[in-house]
């Protein structure tokens, strides 16, 4: 299509041979991107004058956050621990549930096409649902509190770990599996001894990585009433108590960084 509109450039080589050089697609892509950018800018009322005029407000808020209000530290611990508990519990349960779902979704282990399609569709549906939305729905069913947050994190973990795990299982070397089956093992036994050892390091590493991300997600779930530190952030910003918010953010950064370090250490060991 593109080549018909803009015919390739003809070039005569010294030997008399004619070669075609296809026109670069870069100008077209740049044009499309530029048009999209302008349209989006109009659609969202993006304006530089407003931005330059009022961006100092943003830095005023940041200035007020420094120095943080150390006095509010004592009230932060309990919601912070709640946040960590929520993400830990959600990640552990979610990672466990992801294992059977991922096995049911991998086409080299399960033979029934229907089971595979249903499990894959379930995983991608869960993955597209933003965590905050599932947390909101969960607050209606499980009431306000960390239970709802845990459920939301669990659902996200299932979808994330499940997807990466079934991709791993599908890429596994099936030779050992077939050999064990031919020796008279059942499919389940063969899976346990041939496939699981191959995917286990990847599975644990993905789960750990997911847990890291979940701590971040859990921090905002409180905004919709699903427990944890988000509630405090929301209150602090609502009351314009910026030093307290600064303290929460500082504590959050330290916690997330520490968890990332620990999990990175173990992930490096696994692979």
């Amino acid at each position: 299509m593109f080549d018909k509109l803009f015919p390739p450039k003809k070039m005569m080589l010294p030997g008399g041979k004619i070669v075609l050089q296809k026109r670069s697609r870069t100008p077209l892509v740049v044009l499309i991107l530029a048009v999209c950018t302008v349209l989006s800018a109009q659609f969202t009322n993006f304006s530089f004058p407003v931005l330059f005029d009022r961006i100092h407000e943003f830095f005023t808020i940041i200035n007020k956050m420094i120095p943080p209000d150390w006095g509010s530290l004592s009230g932060i611990w309990s919601p912070l621990l709640d946040t960590i508990k929520m993400s830990l519990l959600g990640s552990i349960i979610g990672a466990w549930i992801a294992l059977p779902v991922a096995v049911a979704a991998s086409s080299n282990i399960v033979q029934s096409r229907i089971v595979i399609i249903i499990s894959k569709a379930l995983l991608s549906l869960l993955r597209t649902l933003p965590t905050l939305v599932s947390a909101l729905i969960a607050t209606f069913v499980f009431g306000l509190g960390s239970m709802a947050g845990t459920v939301a994190i669990m659902l996200f973990t299932i979808s994330y770990v499940g997807k990466l795990l079934y991709e791993q299982i599908e890429n596994v070397d099936m030779g050992a599996f077939e050999a064990m089956e031919s020796l008279g093992m059942t499919r389940l036994e063969a899976f346990r001894f041939a496939v699981l050892p191959q995917v286990l390091p990847g599975y644990i590493s993905t789960s750990l990585y997911c847990f890291e991300g979940n701590v971040r997600y859990a921090a905002i779930l409180g905004l919709v009433g699903a427990g944890g530190i988000g509630l405090l952030i929301n209150e602090g910003l609502g009351w314009r108590d910026y030093p307290a918010v600064g303290m929460i953010i500082l504590v959050l950064i330290v916690t997330v960084y520490a968890i990332e370090r620990v999990s990175e250490h173990f992930r490096k060991k696994l692979i």
Binding site: R54, L89, T128, L223
Partner: protein
């Protein structure tokens, strides 16, 4: 003792290590169990769950397909616009930060400081930026664009840095040896190496920003989140159903195309 037994005996024994980790994990699990309680679930919540499922399976088609400013289609378009422009803003802002954080370009202390800044930017939750930026621009899609932009910087810059640090410097050396100017070296030596990775990372981030933009409405920063939360708060589950269906279909479509384009970019 045959060779198989010998091999088995020679295998490393780290039961103590594994056992310790298992015990720590079990303890953490039990500890985190204290966060949840089941006593809030009663007859009522089952009824609500039933209503939700009913609403999700019987969506409000009127809301889904009309063409006014409250329709799902319009709101989805707004969400895409926020995510797209936010990605562009973030991608532009991330480039200088990425070069400042690459340890093969700037001195170690500076790169370390920039990395620290990136970690801080990445850790602050998107909704916090949203709430702060609303004070700057007022509620609306503009605040959403800025929020998405700032939240994108962290990840984009981190992945850019990886690409910059893997730059093949031999290409630059050979260009110097044939007498290229600095501009030519950047244009023909550096940009071709970085462009495909940068683009691929941007498209990936756009994919993620769709999700981000769809929840920003919760704090009033435009997009489909606000109607979603209003519908939920007023228990109109059929409207929630139609919004969620629209959102899920759109996100799946964008994911499909972004995977296609990225696969093409990687293969060159």
């Amino acid at each position: 003792m045959n060779s198989i037994d010998k091999q088995l005996a020679a295998a490393p024994r780290n039961q103590l290590y594994l056992g310790t980790i298992a015990i720590i994990l079990a303890a953490l699990f039990v500890w985190s169990m204290t966060a949840v309680s089941f006593n809030q679930i009663d007859q009522n919540s089952l009824k609500i769950a039933k209503n939700i499922v009913h609403g999700l399976t019987h969506p409000d088609t009127e809301l889904l397909f009309n063409v006014s400013k409250q329709s799902v289609l319009y709101l989805l378009l707004e969400t895409v616009a926020i995510a797209f422009l936010g990605t562009v803003v973030g991608a532009v802002l991330a480039v200088p930060l990425a070069f400042l954080a690459a340890s093969n370009i700037v001195p170690k202390p500076l790169s370390w400081l920039t990395r620290l800044l990136l970690i801080i930017i990445r850790t602050v939750p998107a909704l916090v930026y949203g709430l702060m930026l609303i004070r700057v621009t007022g509620p609306g899609a503009f605040a959403g664009v800025l929020t998405v932009g700032i939240t994108s910087i962290g990840m984009l810059a981190k992945l850019y840095v990886d690409a910059i640090e893997e730059l093949d410097t031999r290409v630059l050396e050979s260009m110097t040896s044939v007498g290229c100017t600095t501009f030519e070296k950047i244009r023909f030596g550096i940009i071709p190496q970085l462009m495909s990775t940068f683009l691929s990372v941007m498209i990936y981030r756009f994919d993620m920003n769709m999700r981000e933009a769809s929840i920003l409405g919760l704090v009033g920063a435009g997009g489909i989140g606000a109607p979603l939360i209003f519908a939920m708060r007023s228990y109109k589950w059929d409207q929630v159903g139609s919004i969620l269906i629209g959102l899920v279909v759109l996100i799946l479509m964008i994911e499909f195309f972004s995977n296609k384009i990225r696969a093409k970019l990687v293969r060159g």
